[in-house]
């Protein structure tokens, strides 16, 4: 190939789609890792079904993995430049995610009559119209892969597991990358299975060479811009769930408190527990409980005994934990609850993303039960928000709910590796042994937080529990005391606002429109606002991570703008929350409840409409 055939691109979106068992998540990960290692910024988004292996070749079983690589990447991208479709069902269901003119690579061997019928095709899917709209590459992936398998003495069924490598080889060719990183991965991963390494390397290489021989590919080679604005430092790729787990581990090390996680498996939060379970050497005490309730209750018990106690869950699991959260509020124990939100209500869309647990996080308990709510806004910053949630919990003696979501949790991003010495100090509010003045609910003047006396400490024995207590510790049903304790618990949460930074606004200084977002939508919102400002539109943007309490300047910001639009992946829960606090500020909403993240295009379209209204 010659250099003039190469198309330079600021960014490129590749979507891998196939049957649930086709290894699409792995292909996507290998491509994003290789891209990151060769200097691209990246963001990924796995889009997979709830079924582990839905019937073969059906649309229900299609699993997707989108990778966005380029110079300056905020999100996993709207639509893709290259689509890999490993069967007719993937082709049929995923073509809508391809840009017009996109390169579409299909495994033509899978387009049998039976498979096409299963996907719902009654006639040839490759119409002239489609062939004109896309560059469709009909690669005989299965037959190539099986032939290689045969030459190595591998049966068809085993060889088929490597089909994804053929597709990946094509992608590496068309993105002008080498196979080195993936070879290294295969050698590491299958060190004990040399036959698997040989087969996969051969298939990967064959895919690459197949692409080289295709005339049409020569005009479809993309050179993707390397990240040029990235801060100097050491980087790695990380998913939100792993980043969350690591943030909690970091907080444990910094605070000197043992990390305890009591959890029950639930999609899409399970990986937080899976990750922490690996790290006993760092002192992580993970307990897989018999149910969600036992998960949070064991964490509350661990907190009483002095651990940095956490529980991880998703929507329905948070519902089950509600009563126990009230107990944590009442006993004023530090606790971190990670809620990796998914589509609801009830079982809803377990593998899809949404921001619809906000109301539940803020209000979902009996009684006046205030707690702190924070939200992460990128896969990588889950690390810092988990750390921060733990810091607030330990220093303010309160449960903290950290909201992430399926998009952040399963998606991945580049992560600039911090040094632990640069992480903020965490100072748990431990009582002093044999302090004659210790009272369970004595508070400090500044934070209004109580002290933490741990079983095993001499001279501090006391009782906590769900019943109302008086400040000295014993039970009390006195009406005045209940009013006082209720006020104190609220005041303690309110005062967290004294320890958080001011809310920031980006975009045009004299903007006509303020875009408000929170949590996991930051990528698409940032890009939409940035592009509009580059186009000369005056749009400002503020993104919330501290949800309860809000930063103290929130009202000052909201009152500055004539037009405000609150964007969230629910029916307006944050907008409603803001309205109760700032009724003087008129706010419109932009909502999406489809189990999918925002697309930059739809956001810009809506913001433009608002500007022109």
């Amino acid at each position: 190939m010659s250099e003039n055939q190469i198309v330079n691109k600021e960014d490129l979106v590749v979507r891998f789609a196939g049957d649930s068992g086709d290894g699409m998540q792995l292909s996507g990960t290998l491509f994003s890792d290789a891209s990151a290692l060769t200097g691209n910024d990246i963001a990924t988004f796995p889009d997979y079904p709830a079924e582990i292996r839905a019937p073969h070749n059906t649309i229900a079983g299609v699993s997707g993995y989108q990778v966005h690589v380029g110079n300056h990447i905020y999100s996993s991208g709207d639509k893709c430049d290259i689509l890999v479709a490993m069967n007719p069902a993937a082709f049929k269901s995923q073509l809508k995610w391809a840009k017009k003119g996109a390169t579409v690579i299909v495994d033509i061997d899978t387009f049998t009559e039976e498979a096409m019928e299963k996907a719902g095709y009654t006639e040839n899917p490759f119409t002239d119209e489609l062939e004109r709209a896309y560059t469709i590459i009909k690669a005989p992936i299965t037959s190539f892969t099986e032939r290689i398998g045969e030459s190595q003495g591998v049966d068809k069924k085993t060889a088929d597991k490597s089909r994804n490598m053929f597709a990946l080889g094509i992608i590496f060719y068309s993105t002008h990358k080498t196979l080195d990183q993936t070879f290294a991965y295969l050698e590491r991963k299958f060190a004990k299975k040399p036959a698997v390494i040989t087969l996969n390397k051969a298939v990967l290489t064959e895919g690459y060479e197949y692409a080289d021989k295709l005339e049409v590919m020569h005009s479809h080679i993309f050179e993707i811009a390397k990240a040029d604005k990235m801060e100097h430092g050491r980087y790695r790729n990380i998913t939100g769930n792993v980043a969350t787990a690591w943030g909690l581990l970091a907080a444990s090390e910094k605070s000197g408190r043992r990390l305890f996680l009591g959890s029950y498996p639930i999609t899409p939060a399970t990986d937080v527990m899976v990750e922490l379970a690996k790290h006993k050497s760092l002192g992580a005490r993970v307990f897989q409980a018999e149910d969600e309730i036992a998960g949070v209750c064991s964490a509350i018990g661990a907190s009483y005994a002095g651990a940095l106690a956490c529980t991880s869950t998703s929507g329905p699991g948070l519902s089950l934990k509600s009563e126990a959260l009230g107990l944590a509020v009442m006993t004023e124990l530090p606790l971190v609850v990670v809620d990796v939100q998914r589509g609801g209500p009830s079982t809803g869309l377990p593998t899809k993303t949404e921001q619809s647990d906000l109301g539940q996080a803020l209000y979902g308990r009996n009684g006046e039960a205030p707690l702190v709510v924070v939200a992460a806004s990128s896969s990588a910053n889950c690390f810092y928000w988990a750390f921060n949630a733990a810091k607030i919990a330990l220093e303010h003696m309160t449960p903290v709910i950290l909201l992430t979501d399926g998009y952040l949790g399963n998606g991945s991003q580049l992560f600039k590796i911090p040094s632990m010495k640069d992480m903020p100090e965490i100072k748990p509010r431990l009582a002093k042994e044999n302090d004659p003045n210790y009272r369970p609910f004595r508070r400090d003047e500044e934070k209004f937080a109580r002290e933490w006396a741990l079983p095993g400490m001499a001279g501090l024995s006391h009782r906590v529990g769900g019943l109302e207590k008086c400040p000295d510790g014993p039970l009390s049903t006195d009406p005045e005391n209940h009013a006082l304790m209720t006020k104190n618990r609220q005041e303690k949460v309110n005062r967290v606002a004294n320890y958080i930074p001011d809310q920031e606004v980006t975009g045009a200084k004299d903007a006509d429109l303020l875009v408000v977002g929170w949590g996991g939508t930051a990528g698409a919102l940032t890009l939409a606002v940035e592009e509009m400002n580059n186009e000369g539109k005056k749009v400002a943007y503020t993104h919330f991570n501290y949800i309860c309490p809000l930063p103290k300047n929130t009202g000052d910001i909201l009152r500055k703008y004539k037009k405000i639009v609150v964007c969230e992946l629910n029916n307006g829960q944050f907008a409603g929350y803001l309205r109760t606090q700032f009724p003087e500020c008129p706010m419109t909403q932009y909502n999406k409840v489809m189990g999918l993240p925002f697309e930059v295009g739809e956001l810009k379209e809506h913001f433009n409409k608002l500007l022109n209204a």
């Binding site: 690591w246 009483y304 632990m420």
Partner: protein, 342 residues
């Protein structure tokens, strides 16, 4: 190698050391008073450091007990005491963790947590106050209420078949189960002391009388006039004898347990079963726990089996990984795997 995690006290305690300054608010005549007294007598016998004792309870009359004991205590929420206690012990294995629950707390709303705590064999000392009724909500039937009993929520008699806590423990592969009566505090203290010394999950069922809402529910076996004939106190290694003059005994006839009388039909001491609390197989312990009706209700330590506790297994894994694990600190982990310099 068995490990003991709870530190021993460097002085001897008395019952008074564990008495709290809170007013005990149970009804006069309630069986809970006697259970509290038995528990307070137990702590000094365990020899554990006082500040390392932690009481965890759920909701119900029995669950008020942490307030009446001068140790660390957690009066939690309905049914969840086992789950909370599990976290306490996991966070700090050096604590002697006690769980107190009623029959509704432990076997209705908290049934799931109970069986899983028992199954894991975590080192918890569980006491179930079984009065066969919901007392604090004023007299509704519980999972242990006798079949057919009229209560406020079963005005025509219950049609619920009751649980037997001992059978639940055996079914969950429990390693320690004892049963005692509130009105025999010495036996209660003995059972509780042995439970505390058992490495693993122990369950002590106390047949307790609710004087207001289910008075005399256990009277058919606890009344002085009938107690010797209606109950049998099992002792490890000793023949299973009962009756005022220990004239009756239990024999296994090949299919089931039966009551025989020494000297009648040629029955001698050799025919009487000898109690072995340590047999791993739950079969005979299940039969003993199940007794009632024509057979005497079994009291004392019915099962006490050695099996490595969850606590020990957990700490062994922690120690092994802390000593030999790949990552010694967060900086190691953060910089592990594929990383690159920009």
């Amino acid at each position: 190698m068995e490990k003991h995690f709870v530190p021993k006290a460097d002085r001897e305690y008395t019952k008074a050391d564990f008495q709290s300054d809170q007013m005990v608010k149970w009804c006069p005549g309630c069986g809970d008073h006697a259970i509290l007294a038995a528990l307070l007598a137990t702590f000094p016998k365990t020899g554990y450091k006082k500040e390392n004792v932690c009481m965890v309870s759920g909701i119900g009359c029995s669950s008020r007990i942490p307030y009446y004991v001068d140790t660390y205590g957690f009066h939690s929420i309905h049914g969840r005491a086992c789950a909370i206690a599990t976290g306490v012990k996991l966070a700090n294995p050096e604590l002697s963790v006690w769980v107190n629950m009623g029959d509704g707390d432990s076997m209705a709303i908290g049934g799931n947590h109970l069986i899983h705590a028992v199954r894991r064999n975590q080192d918890l000392n569980i006491t179930i106050f079984n009065n066969e009724i919901y007392g604090l909500t004023k007299g509704q039937y519980s999972p242990t209420t006798k079949f057919g009993q009229v209560t406020k929520t079963s005005p025509y008699g219950t049609i619920d078949y009751p649980f037997n806590p001992g059978e639940l423990v055996m079914g969950a592969q429990g390693t320690f189960f004892a049963r005692t009566l509130d009105c025999v505090p010495q036996l209660s203290t003995e059972c509780m002391t042995r439970a505390a010394k058992h490495d693993g999950c122990s369950v002590v069922e106390v047949l307790q009388n609710c004087v207001i809402f289910n008075d005399k529910t256990h009277a058919a076996i606890t009344d002085r006039a009938v107690r010797d004939d209606r109950t049998i106190v099992l002792e490890h290694g000793k023949p299973m004898l009962f009756g005022k003059n220990k004239e009756k005994g239990l024999r296994f006839n090949g299919r089931q347990l039966e009551v025989v009388t020494l000297g009648e039909n040629g029955i001698t001491l050799d025919d009487i079963m000898v109690h072995d609390e340590t047999t791993e197989d739950t079969g005979i312990h299940m039969m003993l726990a199940h007794m009632g009706g024509d057979l005497p209700v079994a009291l004392g330590v019915i099962r006490n089996v050695k099996k490595v506790s969850y606590t020990q297994l957990y700490e062994e894994q922690m120690d092994e990984q802390m000593a030999n694990g790949k990552y010694k600190c967060m900086d190691d982990l953060l910089n592990s795997g594929d990383t690159w310099e920009v």
